[in-house]
């Protein structure tokens, strides 16, 4: 009982209520400050802190790590504050148990204290992922000054043999990125491994997350997304085992001298739990921060209030106010907080607030300025701001946040909203001229530069419009404004409307979709010119007006990138329709049909047997000969697809791509080998063509046929590419279609050898792949560009066929691996598996 006497020795007025605070952190001390401000003499105060130091500003640990601040600069309350307010501070001694009946508590040292009122402000514990090696020396979290010291020591030590030290940060959220930034400023080579596909996914949308990743990579960090940690690796060192690196579930390994785990926090509610206070995720409190025991209050990150747990300081201040009001007998109440986030990495401006999940009930207002690296998105619902994500320019973050919190009606400033507060205010002063969206453009001076790429002033654009250019395209070709990067398209369109009146502007080619003013051709050209290699990058550089596109542009962009950068671009599965994602055709009952490739329509007993076995084994209700000369197995469940494919693969069969915007079938007839009229080996050539072209992704589906003579039994003249064999060689036909609108082919040319036929086939396909619009089959494409154009493109330059064919073959190197084989081997198994199965109530209760 010595200890207790020691505490009470410091008390001079025994009549005062004894207030004990557990947790010498941001919330605990703020609560005390608020109470002292209301009634300095009411309580006799003792604070227990687990950390061996006075109260400091935890959020500034990041600048301390980065070397921008010292610990002394971030202390909030130094020793004199405690003594000056007669507060007993016990540091480095965590409270380990509470006896609610006796109103006493015990600290680790054995110290016992009595309380009349208790405040729990124990904060959060960093979450440690449950993998082998997570307790190795050198694995640290990022929560307090000791963690920072451990990171600084590791940076100081560097790597083995005087090399640069290596750090792996697990977690690409706010804390992880601040740790990574600090460590890299301290000279370490940093790798961030993050589970989700985009950084800070809880605060940022895909577009902003992508920009952030690009910038961090530019600064030399390695960012690995979609990375699931399997194990922390160790090695034997001079002082025993030490961390050596991180291994991911996909097998990749990253070496490390220190591993920082920053994957999230959990309310530190252990003490409250053992004390049998009501706890869910956090300690449950009412609006006055009172727990299920009226003598005990709780505040800060350890609490759960109206279902919410917070991980930022702003809510704590409001909680502390309510707590203090209650403690001094003037209850006010706390109603919960809306929060906003800023990343504290110098030179990178990131802000987010509210709900940015988007959707059908809300409107997204997006502004992108690629040259300045800016992305701004404000989410509006029923004329109120409900969320904002800002990258690159966060000056207006607090303004949006204010509008959001106050729920202000923004209908008057809607047009100006995305340009920020200054602009909206100026407009309001100007008598709401912005009700006219052309206001901003009208206000520009004549010399103002509209198109930065080509140095075109407003006066020149207007002159050009006055001179007869009444459409965007006409302006582009006349004075070059908006003809390069296109970021000024919006301005030019406004100038057109302003100069001619809204109704007189001639609409040019249709834009790719409602997310952009660029046409398919523009997008394809700019992807190459500006070397755009990822969907979010295209959207940023080409000023998409939506955050992540739509069901029209995503699949189109995915194809365009795949075509432009073979081998470099990695396919975005989320941008593909179900058939292409599951490599099978969905049927009306939700099952799938499976069509294995039968080269040129030829089959053999082994294949037929394998198909028959699959039909029986998986109880397929139907097998049918398709119009494309192969067999279609119907009624396969998505769970069984990988097993079906494995069986078919085992018999040497691969995917027939019956589901894809890709090469479908090569139909053949029997040809010279059997037919009495056959002039050439049409079956053999068909098989060769199919072997050359299978697996290639196209703007739309693509069908080929080879007929052995002009009787044309393979219907080559209604195919995308058709060969009709004749005595003297091969007639090559293009642009046929037997579908909704029948179109017979145009004759492209005649060649003498199979080799030439193959080369022309490859070249024609590549021209189509490189130039057609997504979802445009060869027939409408040729109708649009004309067969003469196709002939010119292939034949004017004698090297063109060879060059196109070479590009096709290069791309095929990366396309010709059977997607079924990978799935059968277990890749993306989750697409085919249920998460779990729920058994009925009765069974569950029986357990």
């Amino acid at each position: 009982m010595n200890a207790q006497t020691k505490i009470e020795a410091g008390n001079d007025a025994p009549v005062r209520e004894r207030l004990v605070v557990v947790g010498n952190g941001m919330a605990g001390c703020r609560a005390v400050e608020e109470i002292l401000a209301r009634d300095p003499d009411r309580f006799d105060i003792t604070i227990f802190g687990a950390e061996p130091r006075v109260n400091y500003n935890r959020i500034m640990l990041s600048p301390v790590l980065a070397g921008e601040k010292s610990f002394d600069e971030i202390v909030i309350n130094g020793p004199e504050w405690y003594s000056g307010n007669a507060i007993t501070l016990i540091t480095g001694d965590p409270v380990v148990s509470i006896d609610r009946r006796m109103r006493t508590l015990v600290a680790r040292s054995g110290l016992v204290a009595r309380y009349d009122r208790l405040i729990l402000a124990t904060g959060s514990d960093p979450f440690i992922i449950p993998v082998a090696g997570n307790d190795l020396p050198g694995v640290v979290t990022f929560r307090d000054l000791d963690d920072v010291d451990a990171m600084l020591a590791a940076a100081e030590r560097g790597g083995a043999n005087g090399e640069q030290g290596r750090a792996v940060v697990i977690g690409g959220g706010l804390l992880g990125l601040e740790a990574a930034h600090g460590l890299s400023l301290r000279g370490m080579q940093v790798t961030v491994v993050h589970l989700m596909p985009t950084l800070m996914e809880r605060q940022l949308d895909e577009a902003a997350g992508y920009l952030l990743k690009t910038e961090l990579e530019r600064r030399g960090q390695t960012i690995v997304t979609g990375a699931d940690t399997a194990e922390i690796l160790g090695r034997d060192g001079p002082n025993g085992k030490h961390v050596a690196g991180v291994r991911l579930k996909d097998g990749r390994e990253f070496m490390a001298d220190i591993v920082v785990m920053a994957v999230g926090i959990r309310p530190a509610a252990g003490l409250a739990r053992t004390t049998e206070l009501e706890v869910e995720r956090g300690i449950l409190v009412d609006d006055h921060m009172v727990t299920s025991d009226p003598a005990i209050m709780a505040v800060g990150e350890c609490v759960q209030h109206r279902g919410a747990c917070y991980g930022l300081v702003a809510p704590l201040w409001d909680m502390c106010r309510a707590l203090a009001d209650h403690a001094v007998g003037k209850p006010s109440g706390y109603e919960g907080s809306v929060t906003s986030t800023k990343l504290k990495v110098s030179g990178i401006e990131v802000f987010s607030a509210g709900d940015f999940s988007g959707g059908d009930e809300v409107e997204d207002i997006v502004m992108r300025d690629a040259s300045r690296g800016i992305y701004k998105r404000v989410i509006v619902k029923d004329d109120r701001v409900v969320g904002a994500v800002l990258y690159g320019d966060t000056a207006d973050g607090s303004w949006y946040f204010d509008l959001l919190k106050k729920g202000e009606d923004i209908s008057d400033i809607r047009e100006a909203l995305i340009f920020g507060q200054a602009f909206a205010d100026a407009n309001a002063l100007g008598g709401g001229a912005l009700a006219d969206p052309n206001f901003a453009v009208a206000a520009l001076s004549d010399e103002a530069e509209i198109c930065g790429c080509n140095g075109v002033s407003k006066a020149r654009v207007v002159a050009c419009i006055d001179g007869g250019a009444h459409s965007l395209d006409a302006v582009r070709s006349n004075c070059k404004a908006s003809a390069s990067c296109g970021s000024c398209t919006n301005l030019v369109e406004r100038l057109l409307a302003l100069t001619l009146g809204e109704g007189a502007v001639e609409r040019g080619a249709k834009s790719l979709c409602k997310c952009t003013s660029f046409t398919h051709d523009d997008v394809r050209r700019l992807i190459l010119e500006k070397q755009l290699k990822a969907i979010p990058q295209v959207m940023q550089e080409l000023h998409w007006t939506t955050p992540d596109g739509c069901a029209s542009c995503r699949p189109a962009l995915n194809y365009y990138l795949l075509c432009a950068w073979p081998g470099e671009y990695s396919d975005d599965q989320q941008s593909r329709f179900v058939n292409e994602r599951l490599h099978a055709n969905i049927q009306k009952d939700g099952t799938y049909s499976v069509v294995p490739r039968m080269w040129g329509g030829i089959t053999n007993p082994r294949e037929l047997r394998a198909i028959a076995d699959v039909v029986e084994k998986y109880d397929a209700p139907m097998v049918k000969v398709t119009g494309g000369q192969r067999l279609d197995i119907f009624g396969i469940r998505k769970e069984d697809l990988p097993a079906v494919w494995a069986d078919l693969n085992a018999a040497g069969m691969v995917s027939g791509h019956a589901y894809g915007k890709a090469l479908r079938t090569v139909k053949t007839c029997v040809g010279s080998e059997w037919c009495r009229f056959g002039t050439q080996d049409s079956t053999g050539l068909g098989v060769r063509i199919e072997r050359m072209t299978w697996g290639s992704w196209m703007p739309h589906k693509f069908k080929i046929a080879v007929s052995g003579c002009p009787r044309n039994c393979a219907e080559a003249t209604i195919k995308d590419f058709g060969v009709v064999c004749v005595d003297s060689g091969y007639e090559l036909h293009v642009g046929g279609n037997g579908g909704i609108k029948v179109r017979a082919t145009d004759l492209l040319c005649k060649v003498e050898t199979e080799e030439e036929a193959l080369d022309h086939c490859a070249a024609f396909i590549q021209l189509y792949r490189e130039q057609a619009w997504y979802l445009e089959r060869t027939a409408p494409w040729i109708e649009r560009v004309s067969i003469e154009y196709v002939k010119t493109a292939l034949f004017d330059d004698p090297g063109a066929v060879a060059a196109l064919a070479a590009r096709f073959h290069h791309s095929q190197q990366f396309m010709q691996d059977d997607p079924w084989a990978k799935r059968a081997a277990g890749e993306e198994a989750e697409l085919h598996q249920h998460l779990a199965e729920v058994r009925p109530l009765a069974l569950e209760m029986a357990k």
Partner: protein, 113 residues
């Protein structure tokens, strides 16, 4: 809490932009969606049009486009959007400490209804 909410496992089981399914013996199969913006939703896996498996659709914003005839269904409300009308039941879902929870009574209560 354990009683009211069914633990469906870690969020990492569903990559953003995807959905996965949860058959319920004697009840309707449930589809759990993870949007590109990181939100999670659960719906009965049956399009109000002709019962297409919504879990196989393209997810954009808070909407899934049905794989069969491209109706757009709100993940928040289960309602068909635009000119189409119809509604599929939603199942209350919560994410806590990286795990997905579904409201038990909405999942197993189905066959009672």
């Amino acid at each position: 809490m354990i009683g009211e909410w069914l633990d469906i496992g870690p969020v990492s089981q569903i990559s953003p932009g995807n959905a996965r399914t949860l058959p319920v013996q004697g009840g309707e199969e449930i589809a759990i969606f993870h949007t590109l913006a990181g939100a999670f939703y659960a719906l009965v896996n049956k399009c109000p049009h002709k019962a297409g498996p919504l879990s196989q659709g393209i997810v954009h914003g808070n909407v899934v486009t049905c794989p069969l005839h491209s109706w757009n269904i709100s993940l928040k409300t289960g309602e068909a959007l635009g000119d189409d009308s119809g509604c599929v039941p939603t199942i209350p879902l919560r994410v806590d400490a990286g795990r997905i929870y579904l409201l038990r009574e909405a999942v197993v209560g189905q066959q009672a209804a």
